[in-house]
């Protein structure tokens, strides 16, 4: 018999495993304990798997994009202005949409947990073990994600890095699973016109209900970023219309420990030379007004009219061009996001502002009084508030 290299590579996986003694086959493991139609299960699981595949893929790609933007892995353009708002909105929406899909999928295939024998061969054992990572990882990612969006950080670790690494584990387990199930998913999503299928109508009802559940979850939460839907999004943890000066806040002045700004406040700009500017000096400079969103990594976003000094005008004051990175430091003493770096595309953009006003009023302390950074296409955590120093790197 001629064997291809691929067969040699996978040969160990076909090593048969012994069947456990029959006396262990009790409870849900008993033969006939589950009256399920295999073809019907396959069809339900295939459609739900396809929908989950779409939501997980969008969620993964937008999540990786967000991670890359926050870690300066890519040259990120400063336009379109709303790009990050859309991608992060999609990340959170697809994650939420996956909750009913995942629960329905697990319900459909639950009886397969009690397959007998537990593993026919080594490959089957590996496949089933990888399901622990897939199921546990998916529930973990969606569960902690839903908690994080609601500001509930009870899990006790820094969400961003853990979510990133667990995302790779989950998507890896998903690829292994797709590798095993692809032929069945193809067969399960094929529309057949053969003999009457007695399970078809109940399956349609179940899949429709899952679709309705997904739509309901999306509609009741997406208003955190799609403001026209805010009135119906009764489960959203944020309302883009509510907060100081009509705009939500993620870190308040009290939480950041910047409640009092001294009258002797000076913005220090360090470039080829160094200048110190008082609030009056800043107000006397050319003012730019731009409509820009705060786009939070937690999936809410809100527009406002910001007025202030363009960063590139400040750099001109200290004799620096716009081809270098610029670090923006906050007055807050501690916190992961007390400083952020602007890349040249953002430095050059005429609507990258050190804002003094929001919708015509001086900034509320929670929005970063006296001065905050606001730039197009940028995650909210990188829109540094209570700015004290601007340094050309």
């Amino acid at each position: 018999m001629v064997r291809r290299p691929r067969d040699l590579l996978t040969a160990p996986l076909r090593t048969p495993l012994p069947t456990p003694p029959d006396r262990l086959r009790v409870g849900p493991l008993r033969e006939g304990a589950w009256s399920r139609d295999d073809a019907d299960t396959e069809r339900r699981a295939s459609w739900l798997g396809l929908w989950l595949g779409v939501t997980f893929t969008v969620c993964l790609l937008t999540g990786l994009w967000s991670h890359a933007v926050q870690h300066d892995w890519l040259p990120v353009p400063s336009r379109p202005r709303d790009l990050y708002r859309v991608t992060q909105g999609l990340h959170v929406v697809t994650g939420l949409a996956a909750v009913p899909l995942l629960l329905a999928k697990l319900f459909v295939v639950y009886h397969r947990l009690f397959t007998w024998p537990p593993a026919k061969d080594l490959g089957h054992a590996v496949e089933r073990a990888s399901l622990l990572l897939l199921v546990g990882g998916s529930l973990f990612q969606l569960g902690t994600g839903v908690m994080n969006v609601a500001g509930w950080y009870a899990f006790g670790f820094f969400f961003t890095t853990v979510h990133y690494w667990a995302g790779w584990v989950t998507i890896g387990a998903l690829l292994v699973h797709v590798g095993c199930k692809l032929p069945y998913a193809r067969r399960g999503t094929r529309r057949t016109t053969t003999a009457a299928d007695p399970t078809a109508s109940s399956r349609r009802a179940f899949l429709t209900a899952t679709g309705v559940a997904t739509g309901a979850v999306v509609l009741t939460t997406v208003g955190a970023t799609v403001s026209p839907l805010a009135p119906v999004s009764v489960l959203a943890a944020r309302d883009p219309r509510r907060g100081p000066q009509g705009l939500p806040v993620n870190r308040t002045a009290a939480a950041a420990g910047v409640t009092r700004v001294d009258p002797s406040y000076r913005l220090v700009v360090v470039g080829a030379t160094t200048v110190e500017l008082s609030l009056d000096d800043l107000r006397a400079m050319a003012q730019t007004t731009a409509r820009l969103p705060i786009s939070c990594v937690e999936g809410w976003s809100a527009d406002a009219d910001w007025t202030g000094v363009a960063v590139r005008d400040l750099l001109a004051l200290v004799g620096s061009g716009t081809d270098r990175q610029v670090r923006v430091d906050s007055l807050q003493r501690t916190g992961r996001y007390r400083s952020s770096v602007l890349q040249p595309p953002h430095v050059r953009d005429p609507i990258t502002l050190l804002a003094l006003r929001i919708d015509g009023e001086p900034l509320h302390p929670d929005h970063g009084y006296p001065v905050r950074l606001i730039a197009p296409n940028r995650p909210g955590v990188m829109q540094t508030k209570w700015v004290g120093r601007v340094v050309v790197l």
Partner: protein, 142 residues
């Protein structure tokens, strides 16, 4: 209906290699990366799977079984659908209804009345299901 096993996909090995690499990278980062908490994450990942398989799923399977035995056929589907929709809404509502993340200094986080909203939602879902079941029942009776 029968359900014959199918030969493996030609993409199986490439997908296994890609998936194995992605998972290995994620496990490596979870274990040795900065700002991670491998023990807690492992406990939560395995715990989430066990909590689903040993607690949530048996309860749902039991409820579905009772529904099939107690309710007339047309009502079963509507009740099942309503249960699915309510379950999904409850799952994403727990953190906001419980207000577990609320912070005294930030009223813009959890700014709504999260008691009334979900109750209205559930009332709508079950009213629609009841009307649907009643309509199907009348149609079946005719």
């Amino acid at each position: 209906m029968t359900h014959e096993p199918l030969p493996p996909s030609r993409l199986r090995l490439p997908l296994w290699l890609a998936g194995g690499a992605a998972a290995a990278y994620g496990l490596w980062g979870s274990a040795f990366g900065t700002d991670t908490d491998p023990v807690r994450v492992a406990v939560l990942v395995v715990g989430a799977a066990l909590a689903h398989d040993l607690l949530l799923a048996p309860v749902v399977v039991a409820v579905a079984w009772w529904g099939r035995h107690l309710l007339p056929a047309p009502a079963q589907r509507w009740a099942g659908g309503a249960l699915l929709v309510s379950g999904a809404l409850v799952a994403v509502a727990v953190p906001v209804v419980g207000r577990f993340g609320a912070r005294a200094d930030d009223p813009s986080l959890l700014p709504r009345d999260y008691a009334a909203g979900p109750l209205v939602l559930l009332a709508v879902v079950w009213t629609v299901a009841a009307l649907g079941a009643w309509t199907s029942h009348r149609r079946a009776a005719r």
